[in-house]
């Protein structure tokens, strides 16, 4: 266990250079964005003088290098700066918005897993058959549409035409107020507050965006499940299990799927990070108050502090997700830690 702890620690250290890289690149990238933040910040009709005042106030008159060190210094103090477009500290924005994105992504990923894993197993148990082909075509169709298009179409059909879905207005219907914040996940918070109505409402709001997002994750998960299961099913140990007359379910689940699940877990980590990034468009379509929609607006508005903060948060999340996956892997796979 000690060595496993060490491994986790080492992974953390290994992630540091990438996080630093992200800080540098995002800094450089946001400086390269067109538009002068001072002009934007000074507001409409500001004259030259007030623009200069703003420039100095924001520290934009200093050299890039100086700005960078100030930025990094502030980061260590937990200060990500102020978002120009929303007027809130970036950190606070991200903290309120992150749970929204995470909740959406989790549910989307959960939906995808629920659908894709059985499909993948089904395909793997009938390789080359029409079932296999149908599964492949189905999940591929899922990734073939731009998410915003799927989202808008779903809204059009299920909200506008049929009226089944609630209005696509973010996390709760207009009439509900957010439950007292504990985790920031409305579904969990409303349950904690024993507020069934809000829970149902927040769940209803989640369905369409989560489905839109999940569609996108079907293909990689199903593909990975299928591949892993095919490998496991043709492996020697499954043959052993079958030769020993173990029940079909035991062979399929305890022997084959558990082994196939390990690489799948890594894929899930990747897919999660990917979805977290990809849901920017879904958030925009569904007026979801997550960090993705925040980032889009920030980027279009050249709101550099917000963009940097967002990118950094995502990078940290990426590291955390991968680390979590690593930890789960080390806990479930006895072999991990021997090689590498």
């Amino acid at each position: 266990m000690r060595t496993k702890l060490h491994q986790v620690g080492r992974r953390l250290l290994q992630a540091l250079p990438s996080v630093f890289g992200v800080v540098v690149i995002s800094f450089a990238l946001t400086r390269a964005l067109p538009g002068d933040p001072a002009i934007y910040f000074a507001g409409a009709m500001a004259d030259k003088e007030s623009i200069e005042q703003v420039r100095i106030a924001l520290g934009l008159d200093r050299s890039w290098l100086e700005q960078f060190f100030i930025y990094v210094g502030n980061l260590f103090k937990g200060d990500m700066g102020l978002s120009l477009s929303t007027g809130q500290p970036v950190l606070q924005e991200l903290l309120t918005r992150l749970p929204a994105s995470l909740e959406l992504t989790f549910i989307g990923l959960g939906l995808a897993v629920l659908l894709a894993v059985p499909l993948g197993i089904l395909a793997a148990t009938h390789p080359g058959s029409w079932i296999d082909h149908v599964c492949r075509v189905l999940v591929t169709a899922g990734v073939s549409l731009p998410t915003f298009f799927t989202g808008l179409f779903l809204i059009y059909i299920f909200y506008y035409l049929l009226g089944w879905a609630p209005s696509p207005l973010g996390r709760l219907d207009i009439l509900y107020l957010s439950p007292p914040t504990v985790t920031g996940f409305y579904t969990i918070d409303s349950l904690l507050a024993r507020d069934g109505e809000t829970f149902i409402s927040s769940l209803k709001q989640l369905i369409l965006p989560a489905f839109t997002l999940g569609l996108f994750a079907l293909a990689p998960i199903a593909r990975m499940t299928r591949g892993g299961m095919l490998g496991a099913l043709s492996s020697d140990y499954v043959r052993t299990a079958r030769a020993n007359g173990l029940a079909r379910a035991t062979v399929l689940l305890t022997y084959a799927f558990r082994n196939a699940a390990l690489p799948l877990l890594t894929t899930l980590g990747m897919v999660f990070s990917f979805l977290l990034g990809a849901n920017v468009l879904v958030e925009k379509v569904f007026s979801w108050p997550g960090i993705g929609s925040f980032a889009i607006e920030a980027l279009v508005a050249s709101d550099y502090a917000a963009v940097q903060g967002f990118v950094l948060t995502m990078a940290l999340l990426f590291v955390v997700v991968n680390l979590t996956i690593d930890v789960i892997l080390t806990l479930t796979d006895p072999r991990v830690g021997l090689d590498d």
Binding site: T3, H6, Q7, G9, R10, L13, S234, S235, D236, Y237, R239, T240, A241, R242, A243, N244, G245, L246, A247, R248, T250, T254, Y255, R258, N259, L262, T332, D333, P334, R335, G337, L338, D339, D340
Partner: protein, 583 residues
């Protein structure tokens, strides 16, 4: 006992659907096993031994189908049985153990649990007793500290231990029939023997019937009562073991017996019976179109290895969290080659023998300069070739003089290169030939030299048989007339009959071209055929050196002795006598 045999396979035919249409894997195969009998099924790869076993217990994969014939077990028909019934039968009545035991165990499940799975499935134990029973089984297969090993994962156990676990799983429910499919392939010779002895001991105890599937005639001879010889999906001969060896009836059996090298056989004997399959489309490797190298009058030192050491760093988990500190003083290293020295003469053949992990392959890789030694020198043809790094060596003229034949002919050929391209590669890069015609002529000549029919030259590796691939590999290695050819287990992936032909080819080439060989192998019997002198290695050190016959017949060191003894021989009579005396 009733009249129908215990396990009866009657005119069984199996077909596989493949991309090239339907392939007949078994053609009316009939065999039977009596109670308490050990039946050996021998044959080379592709002969249908395993397919027979798989079909019998219903493990055939989806592409295969039993098209004809029946299999009955204790009177119960298996070919038409429902999958559910078969499932009840497997592990309970009929068990199977496989080759490559480490892969055959679930890598992420403690071995004890895997034994329990079987026990619980066949209601041989309750949840409460399963653990104890599993531990008892581990004990039974002579695993030390069974309580601790119960929680071990396959990767934590050695190959031999894994095979013991496999045996424990297979025998957990006291089945009446055990099918062992090449149970010792991939294990070291000494482990092989221990494993087989264990199987024999346990099955005899229960008076179990055993089907031993093997390609190794020696092993079959040592452990079986009766043998069935299979070839291309057909049973060609079936006889009690001593009859079979004393008077083989079928030509294929004769060829097999002849091709299996024994302690006293000679190269000529190995191929005494011609192989119709290989010869059918293969030219005889008799012409020698290359000019013979004039033999130097006095023997001259070709290679001298001085105090060679190769260390590999061990990746320990105990490194400090700070990356710049983990390369501190206490870095651990594993010495794969631990200060060995030897020399060889021009024209000599030297055998390098040892079990896996003894450092023989590392040594040969250093000599061929594919790897840099940690310390020590290799003097080749009066020049120290270790002064250049492996990466730079490719461009030195010495590169041409040391060539190598690899262990796995499949893996050593670029799957995207045709045979011709593979053989031409050294010609282009080492000899600098550019002219297409010239290269083509040269490649044709080489192919002829190694007995590879010209029409195969444009095929890709996966379209060639194992023997043909081996020939391509050899042709490639001799293309630039090397002085020294390092043969790294060149025949270990080949069937015996093919091995025999390849060995003979190598011998002929050596004589014709005057090359020197370093022959790396785990099989003393094979080494003996080709080499005058043998070096036995163990754990990176040289244990014993001497002429091949000396080492094989009169080993001095204890290790060499066990090594020699572990090789299954087939001298059926003496074997029977031994068994009788044992009883």
């Amino acid at each position: 006992m009733d009249k129908t045999p215990f396990l009866n396979v009657d005119e069984l035919s199996v077909e596989f659907r493949t991309r090239n249409g339907i392939v007949q894997a078994l053609e009316k195969v009939s065999l039977h096993v009596e109670k308490g009998e050990v039946l050996g099924v021998v044959g080379e790869s592709g002969s249908g031994k395993s397919v027979t076993a798989y079909t019998a217990i219903g493990l055939l994969d989806a592409a295969g189908e039993a098209s004809h014939g029946t299999v009955t077990f204790d009177g119960m028909p298996l070919t038409d049985a429902r999958e559910a019934d078969l499932r009840d039968l497997r592990g309970r009545e009929i068990s199977m153990i496989f080759q490559n035991p480490r892969a055959a165990l679930n890598p992420i499940r403690p071995v004890g649990k895997q034994i329990e799975d079987v026990l619980l499935r066949h209601v041989q134990a309750t949840r409460q007793t399963a653990r104890d029973k599993a531990v008892a089984m581990l004990k039974k297969v002579k695993i030390v500290e069974p309580e601790q090993r119960y929680w071990s994962y396959p990767f934590e156990l050695s190959g031999g231990m894994c095979q013991r676990v496999m045996i424990a799983i297979a025998l957990a429910c006291d089945p009446r029939l055990l099918i062992a499919d090449e149970p010792t392939t991939g294990l070291d010779v000494t482990t092989q023997k221990a494993t087989m002895d264990l199987i024999r001991e346990l099955t005899r105890e229960q008076n179990m019937s055993v089907v031993l599937i093997t390609h190794d005639l020696g092993m079959a001879a040592a452990y079986c009562d009766r043998l069935v010889v299979m070839q291309k999906g057909r049973v060609v001969e079936s006889a009690p073991v001593n009859d079979l060896f004393a008077a083989p009836q079928h030509p294929y059996t004769k060829k097999l017996i002849a091709a299996s090298p024994g302690p006293n056989s000679t190269l000529e004997e190995l191929t005494a019976v011609p192989d119709e399959m290989e010869t059918a489309n293969m030219a005889q490797p008799n012409v020698a179109p290359l000019p013979k190298r004039p033999k130097t009058a006095e023997p001259e030192k070709l290679l001298e290895v001085i105090d060679l050491v190769k260390e590999f760093p061990i990746k320990s988990d105990n490194v400090s969290l700070l990356p710049w500190r983990n390369n501190g003083q206490e870095e651990q290293a594993f010495r794969a080659v631990d200060g060995i020295s030897f020399s060889m003469m021009r024209g000599e053949s030297l055998g390098l023998v040892g079990e896996s992990g003894c450092g023989k392959s590392t040594t040969s890789n250093i000599i061929t300069r594919l790897m840099d030694p940690t310390s020590g020198d290799v003097i080749f043809d009066h020049r120290n070739i270790t002064t250049h790094s492996a990466a730079k060596f490719a461009r030195l003229p010495e590169r041409m003089k040391i060539q190598m034949v690899f262990q796995d002919p499949t893996e050593s050929l670029n799957p995207r290169y045709s045979a011709r391209q593979s053989i031409a590669q050294p010609l282009r890069h080492l000899k600098g030939l550019r002219n297409r015609k010239e290269i083509a002529t040269k490649v044709d000549a080489l192919a002829e030299l190694v007995g590879l029919p010209g029409n195969l030259l444009d095929r890709f590796p996966h379209q060639l048989s194992g023997g043909q691939k081996a020939r391509v590999g050899i042709a490639r290695s001799i293309a630039v007339d090397p002085l020294l050819l390092v043969l790294d287990e060149p025949t270990s992936a080949l069937d015996v009959s093919v091995q025999a032909v390849v060995l003979q080819l190598l011998d002929q080439l050596k004589r014709d071209l005057g090359m020197s060989y370093i022959f790396v192998s785990h099989d003393l019997n094979v080494v003996r055929l080709l080499c005058e002198r043998v070096i036995v290695m163990n754990r990176g050190k040289i244990i014993e050196t001497g002429t091949a016959d000396e080492v094989l017949n009169n080993p001095e060191e204890a290790y060499t002795k066990t090594l020699v003894e572990a090789i299954p021989h087939f001298e059926p009579r003496t074997e029977i006598e031994r068994q009788v005396s044992a009883l």
